[in-house]
Symmetry: C2
Subunit: 242 residues, 2 copies
Amino acid sequence: MQASFEFPPIGVIHSCFKQKFGIPRQPGLVAEARATLELLPPYDCAEALTELAGFSHLWIIFVFHRSLRDGWRPTVRPPRLGGNRRIGVFASRSPFRPNPIGLSAVRLLGIVEEDGKRLLQLAGVDLLDGTPVLDIKPYLPYGDAIADARAGYAQAAPRAPLAVTFEARAEAQITAAEADHPGLRRLIEQLLAADPRPAYQAGTASRRRFGMRLWDYDVQWEMVDGGVRVTGLIPLPVDEGA
Amino acid sequence: MQASFEFPPIGVIHSCFKQKFGIPRQPGLVAEARATLELLPPYDCAEALTELAGFSHLWIIFVFHRSLRDGWRPTVRPPRLGGNRRIGVFASRSPFRPNPIGLSAVRLLGIVEEDGKRLLQLAGVDLLDGTPVLDIKPYLPYGDAIADARAGYAQAAPRAPLAVTFEARAEAQITAAEADHPGLRRLIEQLLAADPRPAYQAGTASRRRFGMRLWDYDVQWEMVDGGVRVTGLIPLPVDEGA
């Protein structure tokens, strides 16, 4: 057998998620999380997408590009288990895998051509901005949807346990930003309800103020009485932290 | 972005399918199709599989190793459409893709250690013998099972339309072979019922006798009155055609 296999990216993801912190822990959990998949030449021909629009969902096979240099360990500690229990890496969807390849089922909203680029519009993503895409496959429910699959420690979806409220200042800032980013308020609400804090911080009072980058904004919030209070949406210099 | 990404195999598939002809067209269609995934060092440590046994199904991400040198074209002609209609390669699960990466949901029957090798026992596979495996992920029904997904031309499972009968000679040969390969008769029945003939041959009388390699046997059959009649199971010299 070959010692290794080499694959060029066929596309790249453009998404609101500029950093790992805050990203949904699986696809489909945050319906409002949208992204664009830009096909790269020579894979961007219209023929390669013939009849793709008939599919509501796609598989995206991608590279965890921010985990490439981190290496892997045989076990990981999934956030859903509170960060205490060690699980085999092959029993997890962690990015820190022997081959940092990701797999996400996402919703296909549309296919457009803009400025000579062929773009797939996606929703329900958990994909970082800049993610290299290796393959796109149609989701085939007759083979891929196994509703009665037994899934050990991960049977149910992680809960989105937190109530989210917005301070007046944050409301105003978000309303203004919605002009460029429709659905932003609902996106922030869905992301924060899922409690993006690292497992070791959830349930402690050790740190109460947080920020996460979304598009070119810093979303700022506090933990208050077990819920999330969004305090502001601060524009960031473009490309900062990218 | 990097021009390409390099991934070593973490495992290799051992299966009854020694050639492409006759292989199920998707995973899950032939429950009896079994395989073993052998983990390769240094990925074969027990820790990496901790709690994997709690999952009934896995994703196998693999290389279509017999399609590596074939290149890709923007469109393919899926067998289910009779080989007449052209579909975009990204709207298909064809092995002839820009990156020949495969994705199969398979059933996990068990995890064993044999002769110092760590093996996953799989069922419902559509994997060629010798397939290099890039990743193993747990199947998570809450995110992966999208029962109401719309799937264009591929909404329903391909039919398994053919009746399969066995000549007395074939019955006797299969019964003898079942000692080494329990379930062989049912496997042959399920495979042939699905009509493995290329789309351009199905429905024609141009060729009536067929053979496919399964383990180290040549399964021989004829098309008779629109059904399949299995005529023999001939042992092949070991490794021939491998």
